[in-house]
């Protein structure tokens, strides 16, 4: 466990930088995390992040890649284009959510 500073706030994260306190997340923070991992956020990225956060809020678990496509309407190809080399992990990190633990 570690504490990181994002937009002037102290936030608890795990060793890999995933949020332990999703409620402290904000759009500003998302931009900061994205910059850290080399992603410039666009409308398309934000659509994915919003889906992840909303789905997590209503279901209590992180969606799979399949669910992002089926329920979120975001194509797998686009996910890999937006978040190259580890789409679900990167998107979850930017969204201030836990590290995905599913194999799918």
């Amino acid at each position: 466990m570690a504490v990181k500073m994002y937009s002037g706030k102290e936030i608890e994260v795990n060793d890999e930088g995933y949020f332990l306190e999703p409620d402290k997340w904000s759009g500003e923070i998302a931009t900061e995390i994205a910059t850290e991992i080399g992603i410039v956020l666009t409308e398309e990225h934000i659509k994915v992040i919003d889906f992840l956060r909303n789905d997590f809020k209503s279901k209590g678990s992180l969606p799979t890649m399949r669910r992002i496509k089926k329920v979120g309407g975001i194509q797998t190809k686009d996910l890999y284009r937006l978040f190259p080399e580890g789409p679900l992990k990167k998107a979850c990190k930017i969204a201030g959510l836990a590290k995905p633990a599913s194999c799918i």
Partner: protein, 156 residues
Amino acid sequence: MSEDKIKKISIVCSKGSLEGIYPALIMANGARMEGIEASLFFTFFGMDAITKKKMHKIKVATVGNPAMGIPTIIGAIPGMSAMATKMMSKQMDELDIPPIPEFIEMIHDAGGKVFACKASVDMFKLKKEDFCDEVDDILTVGQFYELSAGAQIIFT
């Protein structure tokens, strides 16, 4: 992360049963999700997973499969394999594991490469048109090794 991080894998799928195909697909998809380059090479009956006429009809082996826990003679009753497949598919769907054709599409969309083995294609007298659209090419073993340079090769 250590320098020994896996960067590239090639998976050979040689079996045509449900339980023979899924591990290969799950490993290939999982690799792509971690940013690992992935190629799938289907050979022998494994090619059923990418053959248009067969990919929707893949079944669990209920005979010669001691782990199923049902006697071979029961497993041989017509409909047993279909029933076991239905049950397993339902469970997998609940876990968001896609059916085989959708899974192949997903892996391909994720940038995974899909190949058929030339020797098996010739043996089963198949053509490129017999395969689903996601199949990138039909390769000889030599070509497969060539494109697997620097990769870990996994045989299933």
